[in-house]
């Protein structure tokens, strides 16, 4: 039992962390939310009754989203576009360097920063979709359950969202 749960933990921790970090832009807060989510999942494991197509992942992300809602209410909305970040929340991570806490090549850093800003300009649903699909690397099936949409609809939405990002970047 323990082994199984830890296997799920190993699989979903990085995904959940990536997703939450993108939402809160604060490493400690993201870690805290992710950990709380896992503890909550463990506590409520007995009540986990998967409905059609539901998975542990979609259930875990739902828990995390509820946690996020509470935190986001406390903090102002943050963006990666530096000027806005500073205005809204001085403690938030404003650069990709800080976000990843890693050394990156200048060219790569600039490229990523631009893409993140473009994603930031998308509407809430598109941003959520890109985050779940490419940053959290969730399969369509789990995203469908998390966002309550059909996989095929999501695929179309994703295609359009990427198009918007390209337009924003002038590609």
């Amino acid at each position: 039992m323990q082994k199984q749960f830890l296997e799920l933990y190993d699989e979903y921790y990085p995904k959940l962390y990536a997703y939450v970090l993108m939402r809160v832009r604060h490493r400690e807060v993201a870690e805290d939310i992710v950990q709380h989510s896992f503890l909550k999942a463990l506590d409520n494991l007995a009540s986990f009754k998967p409905r059609r197509g539901a998975t542990f992942g979609s259930w875990l992300f739902q828990i995390a989203k509820n946690e996020l809602v509470d935190r986001i209410r406390q903090d102002a909305k943050l963006t990666f576009c530096q000027t806005e970040v500073l205005d809204l929340n001085p403690t938030a991570i404003s650069t990709i360097d800080q976000l990843l806490n890693a050394e990156l090549a200048v060219e790569q850093k600039e490229r990523w920063q631009k893409v993140l800003c473009a994603i930031e300009h998308l509407d809430e649903e598109d941003r959520e979709l890109i985050t779940l699909k490419y940053l959290a690397d969730l399969p369509y099936q789990e995203i469908a359950k998390t966002m309550n949409k059909k996989p095929n609809t999501l695929a179309v939405m994703l295609k359009r969202a990427l198009e918007k990002v390209r337009v924003d970047l002038g590609i």
Partner: protein, 364 residues
């Protein structure tokens, strides 16, 4: 030119691996707490299929387990009467010919052998003599009459019938609720036919189904003797005629000897008939009263069920054809239900999964 999708994916990989240290630390903490005895499931579409398959198999098992079974007859050998009225002993003592005849008829009879078990035990001649001194002589005709009833109490009327006709019940035994009740008793030989008639009337009046199994009785043996007597009498008449017509003295003497032999044979046969009448005072009868399971309310339905289950030998060609049709129909139904519960969901699931994978692959 920048590939947006690949760039985002690269970022995702970097993000996901950026917190491995904290992940490992929290894992250790979580491991200590993750001993909740709750089954962890990773449900997906295949689980539904497994559920489907399991439930269909469970249903099949349920059908097999709950399939109505005919009552098993346990060999009845517990009454004091049985220990004395031994088949072999009495046969040797007085009725060997009759018993031999009856057993032969039993083998040829069209009947479910599982339902016509009659107890036979051996007894010493001394015991038989003691019994006969006390109760009078008897002929054990190894008769088992089975009554099928939807009512649970047919025992009392049958018992009363034994007594009404001057016999008595020497043993009643019921093994379990779903087992037949055995009534073993004696019926005066001259009332035996009446007993059977009354029994038939009794069950038909109460709408019971009845079947007399192995009810061979005194008639075949009596008929045998009567036939032999007729045959010998005719031979004697013919011989007498021949002797009257014959002129040759030698031939006449030869026919005369044949006539004497025939007359001796006739005398023996008449003696046998007299012995038969004299010796047979009581007939041992075992009546099995079986409550028909509710589902098989008529004897015909019950017989049909036994036929289909291979418990009876089918008789006529039409009957065999009917049984074959029923068996084929039954299996066709089984295959159809397996298809509905098992194969069709499997095909749907496989198609769905393939389509989804192709769609996602294309869209990724």
């Amino acid at each position: 030119m920048m590939n947006v999708k690949d760039t985002i994916k690269e970022m995702g990989e970097a993000l996901r691996s950026s917190n491995s240290g904290q992940q490992a630390m929290f894992r250790a903490r979580l491991a200590a707490q993750a001993d909740a005895a709750v089954a962890i499931t990773r449900p997906s579409v295949w689980k539904q299929y497994v559920f489907f398959a399991t439930s269909s198999i469970a249903m099949l098992i349920l059908v097999i387990v709950t399939w109505p079974k005919p009552p098993d007859v346990v060999v009845y050998d517990s009454s004091p009467f049985n220990s004395v009225s031994a088949q072999a002993g009495l046969g040797d003592h007085k009725g060997r010919g009759l018993l031999g005849r009856l057993e032969e008829s039993f083998d040829d009879a069209y009947e479910p052998s599982a339902l016509t078990v009659t107890s036979t035990t051996t007894a010493s001649p001394g015991e038989i003599v003691d019994y006969e001194n006390e109760n009078g002589s008897m002929l054990d005709v190894k008769t088992t009459i089975s009554l099928w009833s939807t009512k649970d109490d047919l025992v009392t009327p049958v018992q009363n019938l034994f007594e009404y006709l001057g016999g008595h019940v020497s043993g009643i035994s019921q093994y379990a609720m779903d087992q037949p009740t055995h009534l073993t008793g004696l019926v005066p030989a001259d009332s035996y036919f009446l007993f059977r008639e009354q029994l038939r009337d009794l069950v038909s009046a109460d709408k019971y189904m009845t079947e007399v199994l192995n009810a061979n009785d005194l008639i075949p043996s009596a008929i045998n003797i009567e036939e032999s007597i007729t045959e010998v009498t005719e031979a004697i008449t013919k011989l007498k005629d021949d002797i009257a017509k014959m002129e040759n003295a030698t031939t006449k003497a030869s026919l005369q000897r044949q006539l004497e032999n025939r007359e001796l044979q006739l005398e023996n046969l008449v003696g046998s008939r007299a012995d038969l009448d004299e010796n047979v005072e009581y007939v041992k009868v075992t009546v099995m009263v079986t409550e028909i399971p509710g589902f098989w309310e008529t004897r015909e339905a019950y017989d049909l069920h036994n036929l289909v289950m291979g418990m009876e030998k089918p008789g006529s060609f039409v009957q065999r054809a009917l049984v074959n049709i029923l068996i084929v129909g039954f299996w066709a139904l089984q295959i159809l239900s397996i298809a509905i519960w098992f194969l069709i969901p499997l095909v749907i699931w496989l198609t769905y999964r393939r389509r989804q994978r192709l769609a996602w692959k294309d869209l990724d």
